[in-house]
Structure formats: C-alpha cells, structure tokens
C-alpha cells in the first residue's frame, strides 16, 4: 500500500508539469482536477496504512472541497448563463433565441 502512495506522489509531480507548461487555462484546470483526486486517494490510503480511520472523512471533505473550488473557478471564468453560441466553431453556430 505504501508503494502506491509513493507512486501517486510521483504521478502528482508528472501532472504538475502539465499544469506548469500548459498552453491554455483548460490544461491547468485539468491538472488541478487530477491532483485533487490523487491527493484524496493518498489520504484514503494513509487512513488504511496508519490505522487511523478518521482520515476517510478527511478524504471525503477534501474531494468535495476540490469539486466546489473547481466549480468556483469555472464560474469566475465564464460569467453569464451557460448557453452554447459559438461563432467560430462548426456545429455550435447560430440559432440563439432572443429573450427579452
């Protein structure tokens, strides 16, 4: 079980490279999402490796806080209602219903 913790720590460093060199904001968000998941799994494994089963709740709360944090970042990135109307991309053009 401890080798999985060490391996996940190395994978966090690998994902962090993509978070640093990522050309768009989306890549950094993907890296944040992956790192949050891996850290919650590491906390779960630590709970079973050390025999302190209160860490399971901490992993649960950490996962939910990562979800809410990512959702808040996305909400700040794109204000307004989320309706797909993209003039540049084929398949998402036009047909907006004007609502007063």
């Amino acid at each position: 079980m401890l080798w999985l913790i060490a391996g996940l720590m190395c994978l966090i460093l690998v994902v962090l490279i993509r978070g640093i060199i990522g050309p768009t904001v989306l890549d950094r968000l993907i890296a944040i999402n992956g790192i949050t998941t891996m850290v919650s799994v590491i906390i779960l494994l630590l709970a079973f490796a050390r025999g302190e089963y209160g860490f399971v709740d901490i992993a649960f709360v950490f996962m939910l806080c990562g979800f809410v944090g990512n959702l808040w970042i996305l909400r700040v990135m794109t204000p307004g209602d989320w309706k797909l109307d993209l003039p540049g991309i084929k398949g998402f053009e036009g047909d907006r219903e004007e609502v007063d």
């Binding site: 999985l4 989306l26 890549d27 494994l45 084929k90």
Partner: protein, 106 residues
C-alpha cells in the same frame, strides 16, 4: 489471500492513474487530454476503493467508502463535462480532426 486480491486491485489502480497521467502528454488537445485523464482517474479511484473495501475491518468504514465511490462517480464526469463546456464557451478551439455533430442530429 485478501492481501493478494487487494494488491492486484492497487496495481490496476496505479496502471490506470499512470495511463491517465500519460495521456496528458500524448494527446494533442485539451479536450482529448481531459477525456483521457477523466477516464483514467475514475477507473483508478474505483480500483483503489475496491482494494480498500477488501481490506477494511468494519462495516461503517465500508459504508463510508461506498459513499465516497458513489459520489466520486457522480462528481468526476460532471467536472470534466463542465470544464469542457467552459472551454468551448471561452473559445478554445479543438484540433482540426475533431467533428462536433450536435446540430446535425436534430
């Protein structure tokens, strides 16, 4: 015996996480990257949780683990979908080989 089963689950979990992390560097686009990472992490958390379910000593801990896995299976695809939708709204264009066929099916 149970430890062997749990170790097999952990090896599968590490392979899934590693393939998800590898897909960040092998795919050409943000959308394909988040596809690979989302699938790899969902499978990795599922296999790690299965191994921990085998090793867990008590029923209340098993219930907590099942609850965590259920919520994670709800949350992670929702999160990948929202990140992709925010990227489309923000104007990040996919690669030229991507075909979006939402409007044509109506």
């Amino acid at each position: 015996m149970l430890k062997v089963l749990a170790s097999i689950c952990f090896i599968g979990s590490f392979i899934s996480f590693g393939l998800g992390a590898l897909s960040l560097f092998r795919f050409p686009d943000s959308y394909t990257r988040i596809h690979g990472l989302g699938i790899g992490e969902t499978m990795g958390v599922a296999l790690a949780g299965l191994g921990l379910l085998i090793l867990s000593p008590d029923w209340i801990i098993r219930l907590k683990l099942i609850f965590i896995l259920f919520l994670f299976w709800m949350i992670n695809p929702t999160m990948t979908h929202l990140i992709m939708k925010a990227g489309l709204l923000h104007g990040v264009k996919p690669v030229d080989d991507t075909r979006l066929r939402l409007r044509e099916e109506r």
